[in-house]
Symmetry: C2
Subunit: 258 residues, 2 copies
């Protein structure tokens, strides 16, 4: 089973999204796609005169902002991807964590910061994903969860990808791809030749301390280490070009291994 997380400009730019989906369509099933929200939620918030508040890369989500994130992530972005996949002859089904009780979460409690309607994941219903895959439906998951008490929650898409991969790894051999705007993890962001091709989980801390892994990447890399430690077989960080190379049997991106 291959699980893909897309974010950043792949979602924000329709041309890049189309390029990704064409490469993605060529990858044999079974596969699962998880998407973030890019800048669209922030843009809609601004158009609606809502203040955009971020804390350590996480969106502070009041009731109005929750509505905006559900509308953009579960509404426009999710259904646009599903419709585009259909045009590529891929039968997909768009889901949030509320659908079929796919992802149970609880509202984040923090001693000093009120994150609002932000959900930390408690459980993934991997059985539902298996059932949908067995119906030849490709799950497309938006980063919205729920608490089973009727409350929708906003959850980081990298976290969802990680949790879904870990849950599926209990019964499947899982490869997880984080697709973003760079060829992979870079030793030096100024130098495109500084791609780190493989890295072991126990080498990560040293790279962080040497400031080789940039601040924005640290949560992504920590998520990846968690996934590897909890049974995900292989994790690759790359961009659309890198993914195209990989499906052609070439080497690309950064692989994280145990």
């Amino acid at each position: 089973l291959k699980i893909f997380k897309i974010g950043g400009s792949i979602i924000e730019d329709d041309t890049e999204l189309n390029q990704f989906l064409e490469v993605f369509a060529q990858i044999p099933s079974p596969k699962i796609l998880i998407h973030g929200g890019g800048k669209m939620a922030s843009e809609l918030s601004k158009q609606l005169n809502l203040e955009v508040k971020m804390q350590d890369g996480r969106r502070i989500t009041d009731a109005d902002t929750l509505k905006v994130t559900v509308m953009t992530y579960a509404g426009w972005i999710n259904k646009n991807i599903v419709a585009k996949l259909s045009a590529l002859n891929i039968n997909s089904i768009g889901l949030t964590g509320a659908d079929g009780n796919l992802i149970l979460a609880h509202k984040r409690m923090h001693a000093t910061i009120d994150y609002g309607f932000v959900g930390d994941v408690d459980a993934v219903n991997s059985q539902l994903l298996q059932q949908l895959l067995s119906l030849d439906l490709l799950p497309v998951i938006a980063p919205i969860t729920h608490d089973v008490n009727g409350q929708l929650l906003n959850t980081n898409a990298d976290t969802i990808a990680t949790e879904v991969a870990i849950a599926m790894a209990k019964s499947d051999s899982v490869e997880l791809f984080y697709l973003f705007d760079l060829p992979g993890l870079m030793g030096n962001l100024e130098d495109l030749n500084s791609l780190i091709s493989t890295i072991k989980t126990n080498e990560i801390e040293a790279l962080e301390q040497a400031n080789i892994i940039s601040a924005g990447m640290i949560p992504k890399v920590h998520n990846a280490c968690q996934a590897i430690k909890k049974g995900v077989q292989k994790i690759t960080f790359t961009n659309v070009e890198g993914l195209a190379k990989i499906i052609n049997g070439e080497v690309a991106g950064t692989q994280i291994t145990l």
Copy 2:
């Protein structure tokens, strides 16, 4: 199989929605829920300074308006209902016509009016609904369709309810409920005692010509007649109070019969 279409204030007012969902939760499976968009799409359009254009009760849907309808119908309204059903111990799955290629439509062509991204239904994938029902997932359908070429389309929710009911009636005994703000079809809108309790499809035209069926109800009633003629067993127009009576074995609402 019971199919329910909700619209109007049931969707616009959270208290009414909760009241409906509590009654709905008591009705034995299998069941399918189809929702409209109420005024939320118009309100969001206004907040975003988009002009709201209607033609014969149908929304003229330019590209920006399509985005608004997908965000509100498939995003907020759909996922809010799914989360609320989960709190009532009902495992539901929110869908548009794009998901699993559920509802294939084509962009409406009209000699004089450009409706924009409005879809007329060509086919309903009843097999997918049967598969989801057999997984004990209650389908919750938003009034968005697609053309299988990557284009999402805005489709009237009454039409979707009718088409879904007709498609399911090929293999199932189907009862269709249109839930709205009135106890049923009224002989006189000023008089709540003027409820028409049963009406045959061949009596409809006479009621229309006598102006007994009001203009806003005519498309709903025509949809219902279509459904009955194409195999749907029973159609009821009522409100939440009427539905509560019906599940208690009392008589309520208007029934349309062949």
